[in-house]
Symmetry: D2
Subunit: 317 residues, 4 copies
């Protein structure tokens, strides 16, 4: 649903009411509660509710009786230990609920994360608004040749124009036909009194996959971090990455100590295979290692070299 003035004022209204609670809270996330954080051309993420903060992780790990310790330094150490050793259950003790508006083809990727609760706006029940995603100019990239599921260089003006024309034209015309089949215009009026509107659950199939949908999505901090690690990654499709990046910012505001540990032990960390460990030991000793002596496949060796910038290091040496 378009973020029109009525909805904007509903959101603003939400931020005028405060409650007093015995629960723990997080000042960072309170600042952005309910506010639409814009993503892509019509999408957003809104934090609707949350439970817990960094202390809750510590409290659960210790099965403690109070609200958690006061010494931040100890808590940081414990949180880093938990993250480093994949003791993940204490991170399940915090929850977050988001209201997300996103293109359908991205919603299809998103929903593959199964450990979450979802209530989606129903196009069986309601009519979708006329809002579709059109990439920015700099996102119109060619199919990658090396990686079958990636993008390559940006299209030149002529190719880009052609794509824009097709995308916009088809989005518009399929939506017009959707309304025509429903026999109901955007003001809720019947278009033609002599015609019968098709059932919504059928008409929706005429829309293209770049139409926006929206949902309430709730998950725990552990699963949220998993989502971010996979989807804020450079291999993820740009259109879901921008959502994951906003979520990463939300985590930073909500649970700063957990965020710090997550960056160090998940985002900036790497996994090294058995052969990789052996190769690293030899490299540290100063021995020469090649793809052949490492026992890795060409593809794996390329990944490994990039991981530790071997070409750069060994050439300079």
């Amino acid at each position: 649903m378009a973020l029109d003035n009525e909805r904007k004022s509903e959101i603003e209204e939400s931020r005028k009411q405060t409650e007093t609670t015995f629960r723990v809270s997080s000042p960072g996330i309170e600042e952005i509660l309910y506010k639409p954080l814009e993503v892509l051309d019509h999408g957003f993420i809104r934090v609707i509710d949350y439970m817990g903060n960094d202390n809750s992780v510590v409290q659960a790990a210790r099965v403690s009786y109070g609200k958690g310790t006061k010494k931040t330094s100890e808590d940081r150490g414990l949180i880093q230990y938990l993250m480093r050793h994949h003791h993940t259950t204490p991170f399940e003790m915090c929850d977050i609920k988001l209201h997300v508006k996103l293109p359908i083809f991205i919603a299809r990727q998103w929903i593959r994360h199964r450990t979450a609760s979802v209530n989606e706006y129903s196009a069986r029940y309601s009519i979708l608004d006329n809002e579709f995603y059109i990439p920015k100019r700099e996102q119109l990239a060619a199919q990658s040749k090396s990686n079958r599921q990636g993008r390559d260089e940006i299209l030149d003006d002529e190719n880009a124009k052609r794509v824009f024309d097709l995308l916009i034209e088809d989005s518009k015309s399929t939506y017009d036909h959707y309304r025509e089949m429903l026999n109901e215009d955007e003001n809720g009026n019947i278009i033609d009194e002599n015609k019968t509107g098709l059932a919504r659950e059928l008409a929706r199939m005429n829309l293209t996959l770049n139409y926006y949908t929206e949902w309430y999505w709730k998950t725990n901090l552990h699963n949220l971090l998993n989502f971010i690690r996979l989807r804020a990654d450079s291999h993820a499709q740009y259109e879901i990455r921008v959502y994951a990046e906003i979520m990463q910012d939300i985590v930073k505001k909500w649970v700063p100590l957990t965020y710090e540990a997550f960056m160090e032990y998940r985002v900036n960390s790497v996994g090294v295979s058995g052969k990789g460990v052996k190769a690293l030991k030899e490299l540290i000793k100063g021995d020469k290692v090649t793809q052949e002596t490492s026992g890795m496949s060409k593809r794996e060796w390329a990944e490994f070299s990039e991981m530790f910038e071997l070409q750069k290091i060994l050439t300079n040496a």
Copy 2:
């Protein structure tokens, strides 16, 4: 992917190889293994693999040492008891893996059943075939007026023609433009040497929601029965109901005793609220009960009356 001759022969090939195994098996489901059971205009369900049979349910309930009992009558009684009392874990001990081809808007409903494993054909990686769903004439129904998410009477010829024209035209043109953006025709040839193909992960957004996708989907018997109960129900959308009905037939072939118990205690059973139980006791006594005296809302009373055909029974009496 279209079920062309190459794929048909791959499927036939699968049914030429048999294995000898110590595992239990189910003769009924072996008959249909791998065969595409057709659904809608281009869809199918294929049973790819299964684990367990009716005996496995009994065996798990008893934590027994052998393969299960020989006396079918005892097994039937136990399975009915388990189903009636919602002792669901023994039904989790059987698994089934399906290969399903289905329109994207149905895939979006289907995936909401979270307790399953899924591998979907990737349109980031590959190009979708030119196959889209067009409802049969008798499925083109008007929006229901009483039920916001249902269908009403079937469209007349004129309205139906208009809908068919729009659906077919948009499906075709969005697909043509998809190929044009990819700059690759259906034989895998470049369409125009002077153009650059858009990345697959972007081009796919131009397709309409009636395009077919396919996936491997694996779940256990308990979750499968839940799926069927919800989706073979008369309130489910026709286009997913036909899949659920095929799955109901598969269950009948695979685990006939479980099927029988499922029909009796799930499909043909009803839930009666606290007020409903009270009303039924009064009705059995021969007392008069109305919506007002029952304490139910109008809507609930209507549902209750229909459940027990009160109008018919009480009028005849």
Copy 3:
């Protein structure tokens, strides 16, 4: 861990700090936050945190932009509709986190509810306190003869005394030996300087199953209601039922509209099989129905008769 003065004051301290938040809250549950609600002889349930209230259910069902409606009557109707028709996802949008202290043999039943997050006090890492469950006199019941997993009449004094003696004696002596193996007394002092303490992860195996453990347990409202429905039921073991009953009270305070719908459509409702529906229709018409004509098994007929108090109704008639 025993609820000693130090822990009691930690808990009281938690109730002295309040926070101001933009989140929705529930006044009913705020009243009991952190307080130990006593169960059995040494157990408790403490509500540590929660997310959402009745409005959150409504808000998610509507995918709405504001905090939810103001008209309680509409919300009640929607919540009842959702509960009646098993539209369960909106109830997943509320969460609760409990700190629970409970005997190990009950913890083993409890953990079978898989859709929850758990952090348990570790007896690999720490030493368990000397706290074990001894049933009250009126709970010492004989093995049921009709129901293999139930209880029958209460033991007479002599039999009860014998059981109490054995339970208490074994609980005490196994704990003494636990400490002896650890070579550490309850004040944390070494018992015998010349002996070596056994690893905690091993020594714990000498404790009996009535020893208390504790954990942080978090689940959503939907799963909490499932837990309560199964475990507050008369067929559940008394020792878990008392926990479930406390949880039912918590739900009443937290989300009163959901509680009301839950009682009507889950707790006080019944499931009627296909054969049962047929029998009910006949009974309403005034026809005679017997076990034989109903097609039910003896056991099922007995359950059905009890459900609708047929004996009482039909005898009086």
Copy 4:
């Protein structure tokens, strides 16, 4: 239940019946189907059923129409790629069902892996056999001083004897009292006609945590590998590690290509933090790195040094 002659013959009987099936099979795992693989003093793991083999992983990743490719080299490459890049869903497409007998305190660790289906032998319903776990002499170790949840050196003879005496005495006497409370001996006879037996669901609480229980446990290959990685690890408690090691052998027989990839990219692999990657690059260049310059905590540096045997490498250099 003790593996007596009756049960042994039931098991042998299971291996006399074979079935012919169109399903894929795995010769390696067929060899051990149903056979009790012994663990600890009375425990076992029996493979009861399985679904899929290495080909099934490949088949799901490709959403293919046939049974899978014939070229083992291509399959191996794909399986290694999937494992290396944590594309885990194809591994969910294989399932295994185990019958496991294990001490209760280990069952309590095991059940924390939530994504599995379980049917446990019920001590509410039945009476447990007189079988309890007593560690071998070489497993009786002192509490670790450096690691609060580990073991240290093995106890000397005197300390060991004391522990054995206590464990065996308490196991026996609590079991005798269990039977006395039930008023039923091991042959199923009433012990004393003048006494009333306590309900089973209560009497069981007198047993110590080293008593054996058993269950049917079903999980998919992905979750099985997770279990093994965590529980076959040197930090896991010995008594669960021996079960995980048997399961690792089962995986080797069942899906040899997946096993190979699992060992290389999970078991023999390590995770390196952001600071660790930086330190490794410096070490490869030949720069000196210390705990201080690395920015790691002492504990983390110790772990890092051990991971790459820095002390050994840098001292020799």
